[in-house]
């Protein structure tokens, strides 16, 4: 393998640039919306001052003049009236009607919402029931019923549109009011003897005002469109007065012969609604911090690989060879170095325990092996992962996919979150088989059942048709293990598989894993923060701290005589192996943030043996005895002369 292998790895850094571009574009679109809307509003506000013709002046001799006719820039309508003038006056009317409807809905919606939210209890219950009833209608039916009762006309259409939108305001504002109604300042006002009405107006209202404004800005476009729609149907503004909707409705009668009389007002409605939408989207995006932080991006099928060179293959013919692995998280302009050169090997049939506090990078190491680190923001920035001698990080995706779940499989921590909630567990196992082997569904199912029995699920033949939420945590994890075993992999990567379980179930799962390993000869990379678990299961240990391996060697040797001060402290924290609380939080100080590593030894701030030399320069992982290695300038040892 050479550096040439890096070339075909997919998209480097493009998503970050794309995200930025998109935000920029969105802002530009929002600005375009703002400009358009301002222009439209200005035109309609200034309508009386503009040198426009009389919008009502009929001249049947001049009817249906085309646009760009002399004296009539946009032509004339069926009565020979100037379309430009009618358009601007119509826009003015539509905007006014939409705004008034919006204010009306906001006012009554707020009154209902604040009343319901403030008083709570039965008042709230009845008001919200009534609101729910209103919402049970398709909106136009309600509007039509109101117009039918009051009679067609612009004011009645406006009332109808406002009423239809009241529930939206009432619900939103009630929600906010409920959270405010029991705040201290409201209680204080009550104690001060203020009347309920005064509290609602002077204490609550100012606090819900932003919600009202936002709700108005999101609905005003709708209301303009809805009133225009009612006018279009002939139920709104009545001739000769025309808003945009009734202009379009009148134009429709001559759609085929003189389409311009329809196209002009139709386009205007489109422009208004579009600019309102653009502006609204822009504001919403700008207010959404998740968009900027990149939290709304979805992980791709594999972690992005962006490395300069691939390390030479090692002499050690292990099953899994991780070399100098460097995985980073790139968020905006920041880079968090989660792994700074992790090297480890797993031999066939061996169990390696990877141990460390949370944030040490042990899970990132596990996920990097098969390119499962969420990406973006994850990027593998250097190193290599070799499975049976083949480099996998640079391999084509189809090759990587064939390894996943077939030769190397995973068991994850929380089986409720990691199993698909809507598929039966049996089907999820069947899928794992069929992803790699062309076998019939019934054969795969028989195999799944066999595995469920092998992981000692009682009543496996009925459990196989359960959904994950119908199983206990321990059962779910057994399903996860069955799924990992189903294709007889060479290596299982188990990422804290027992952490979410209670102690008895933990012990059962561990002994199950141990049995399966001995029976099937499968190698395990076991990620944990728990030395007790490691002692029970693993042949060798690798201790991680701040994205590096700080000590590695045979389990018994390290447990008996830890060389790194950090390992020593970890082991000292374990009260009694195999029992009780075995969390790793008893060490003073916090693990360092991986974006702010001190020079030299990362453990120095928490180490009581630290010397000035520890704080300068890179500290290598040196051999310590024949089978061990340690990353420390002053390793501790009970046996003298262990250090190289």
């Amino acid at each position: 393998m050479t550096a040439g292998d890096v070339a075909p790895t997919p998209q480097r850094r493009r998503p970050a640039a794309g995200a930025f571009l998109k935000l920029f574009l969105r802002n530009r679109l929002a600005a375009a919306g703002a400009i358009l809307l301002t222009a439209v509003v200005l035109l309609s506000v200034l309508a009386p001052l503009l040198p426009l013709q009389d919008p009502y002046a009929q001249d049947t001799a001049q009817k249906f003049l085309r646009p760009f006719s002399p004296g009539h820039l946009l032509g004339t309508d069926h009565l020979g009236r100037d379309i430009l003038s009618r358009l601007i006056w119509g826009t003015r009317l539509s905007l006014v009607v939409g705004l008034v409807a919006s204010f009306g809905a906001a006012f009554f919606g707020s009154v209902i919402g604040i009343t319901a939210g403030y008083f709570g209890g039965r008042t709230d219950n009845w008001l919200m029931r009534a609101i729910d009833m209103l919402m049970a209608f398709p909106y136009i039916l309600l509007a039509l019923a109101i117009v039918a009762a009051l009679g067609p006309g612009l004011v009645n259409a406006l009332i109808a549109v406002a009423v239809v939108n009241i529930p939206f305001f009432a619900r939103n504002i009630r929600g906010v009011t409920v959270t405010l109604a029991h705040k201290e300042f409201v209680d204080a006002a009550r104690l001060a003897g203020m009347t309920d009405l005064r509290i609602m107006v002077s204490e609550i209202l100012p606090n819900v005002l932003p919600v009202i404004v936002i709700a108005m800005s999101t609905t005003v476009g709708w209301m303009i469109l809805e009133t225009a729609g009612l006018s279009f149907l002939g139920l709104g503004s009545q001739p000769p007065v025309a808003d945009l909707g009734s202009m379009l409705g009148e134009g429709r009668n001559a759609l085929i012969t003189d389409p311009h009389a329809s196209i002009v007002p139709g386009l205007m409605i489109f422009v208004i609604v579009m600019s309102v939408n653009l502006l609204g989207d822009g504001i919403r995006d700008a207010l959404d911090p998740r968009l900027r932080s990149g939290a709304l991006t979805r992980p791709m099928a594999r972690t992005i690989v962006d490395r300069n060179a691939v390390p030479q293959p090692p002499a050690d013919p292990a099953l899994l060879n991780v070399q100098e692995l460097r995985t980073e998280f790139r968020v905006g302009s920041r880079t968090l170095k989660a792994l700074s050169g992790v090297t480890l090997q797993v031999r066939p049939g061996e169990c390696l325990g990877l141990i460390g506090e949370s944030g040490s990078g042990k899970s990132v190491t596990a996920l990097s092996v098969m390119g499962l680190v969420a990406s973006p923001p994850g990027v593998i920035a250097g190193g290599a992962v070799r499975y049976a001698g083949t480099e996998v990080l640079g391999a084509p995706f189809s090759e990587l996919r064939k390894l996943r779940g077939d030769r190397i499989s995973y068991i994850f921590q929380d089986p409720l979150a990691t199993l698909h909630p809507l598929y039966r567990v049996g089907d999820q196992i069947v899928e794992a088989i069929q992803a790699h082997h062309a076998v019939s569904k019934s054969k795969a199912r028989a195999r799944a059942l066999e595995l469920l029995e092998a992981v000692r699920i009682p009543n496996a033949s009925s459990r196989i048709d359960n959904f994950p939420h119908e199983l206990s945590g321990g059962m779910r994890q057994r399903v996860g293990i069955a799924m990992a075993l189903v294709n007889e992999p060479d290596l299982i990567i188990a990422d804290e598989p027992t952490t979410a379980l209670d102690v008895t179930v933990q012990a059962q799962i561990l002994s199950l894993l141990d049995d399966l390993r001995r029976e099937r000869g499968v190698a395990i990379l076991f990620i944990t923060h728990d030395f007790g678990v490691v002692a029970q299961l693993c042949d060798r240990i690798a201790v991680m701290y701040a994205g590096r391996i700080v000590e590695t060697g045979p389990t018994a040797a390290i447990l008996a005589d830890p060389a790194h001060p950090y390992t020593r402290r970890l082991i000292a924290c374990v009260p009694e192996l195999g029992e009780g609380q075995r969390e790793l939080h008893a060490i003073p100080g916090l693990p360092p943030a991986v974006d702010d590593l001190p020079p030299g030894c990362a453990f120095a701030p928490r180490c009581d043996k630290a010397q000035p030399a520890c704080r300068t320069g890179e500290i290598p992982l040196d051999a310590f005895g024949s089978e061990r290695a340690v990353r420390c300038l002053f390793p501790e040892s009970d046996q003298a002369g262990g250090a190289a």
């Binding site: 998503p15 794309g18 571009l21 574009l25 009534a130 729910d132 009833m133 049970a136 209608f137 398709p138 909106y139 136009i140 039916l141 309600l142 039509l144 019923a145 109101i146 039918a148 009762a149 009051l150 009679g151 067609p152 225009a228 729609g229 149907l233 139920l235 429709r252 759609l255 085929i256 389409p259 329809s262 139709g266 386009l267 409605i269 609604v273 579009m274 939408n277 991006t297 979805r298 996920l367 499962l372 995706f397 996919r401 996943r404 779940g405 077939d406 499989s409 994850f412 979150a417 199993l419 698909h420 909630p421 809507l422 598929y423 899928e431 794992a432 790699h436 959904f467 939420h469 119908e470």
Partner: protein, 315 residues
Amino acid sequence: MGSYILKRLLAAIPVILGITVIVFLIMSLIPGDPATAILGSYATPENVEKLNRDLGLDKPLVQQYFIWLGNMLQGDFGRSFSLNRPVLDEVLERFGATLVLAGTSLVICSILGIIAGVVSAARQYGVADKAITFIVLIGISIPSFFLGMMMILLFAVNLRWLPVSGMYAIYGGGDLPDLIRHLLMPATALAVVATGVIARLSRSAMLEVLRQDFIRTARAKGVTERNVIWRHALKAAMVSIIPVIGVQAGFVLSGAVYIETVFQWPGVGRMLVTAILTRDILLVQGGVVIVAACYVLFNLAVDVAQSLLDPRVTT
């Protein structure tokens, strides 16, 4: 499952009753003498008196409501004076045409919207995503009635591919291909806005789901990326997409009023508009109650569909 459906059905009854109350209250806003309003200005005094007796219009409001409700429960929604036939017959006949139109639209917007949203999410920030986002933005901004008119100009008048309006050809029509030719434009015009809304929501639902742990599990199993997106992620995203489709059904039904007018589709929406313009109050009243009640039942069906998809709902 059966008990769940029953529970939902029982819960729908007060909602439908509430709908009748609201419609009744709105109709009681009619200014002037209701009997005259219902019968129109050419009503004879005898007819006015008979209607007053039938509907109990001389009784107190509460009693009037129960008389009206009782009549409806017996299938008597009154007579339309402008059409001179029972309201129920007219509404049911017209509602069939609306269901064909709105149903087709709903199918179109659900399928296209979901596909667009999934593709958009799977190619987030790619060219396809940006193109879809832009088209969706235009789609949700076009008033459906204007779009319908422009489609008539282009496809019926200029290109002569499709008929201008109506549900069937007057001569020699009436078969399925004829219906489809007439249905194509109005159903599409009606679907555009809802497609955009569903696409937007499907995209964000997919982005949300694709970050979940079970997606990583599927990838760790070696499931092909196509199955990860279209089976694992979409199935989970459907849990939040289905309610949106339920809400959009209300908007499609509402939009049908405009589209039926533009394309002269003989549906209940156009019937309501005509009834309002001719002041045929009983027809409006009956039409609104029947369609709104059906919409409630439709939403119930959506809830049931949701529970079939998500076993966690009913347990």
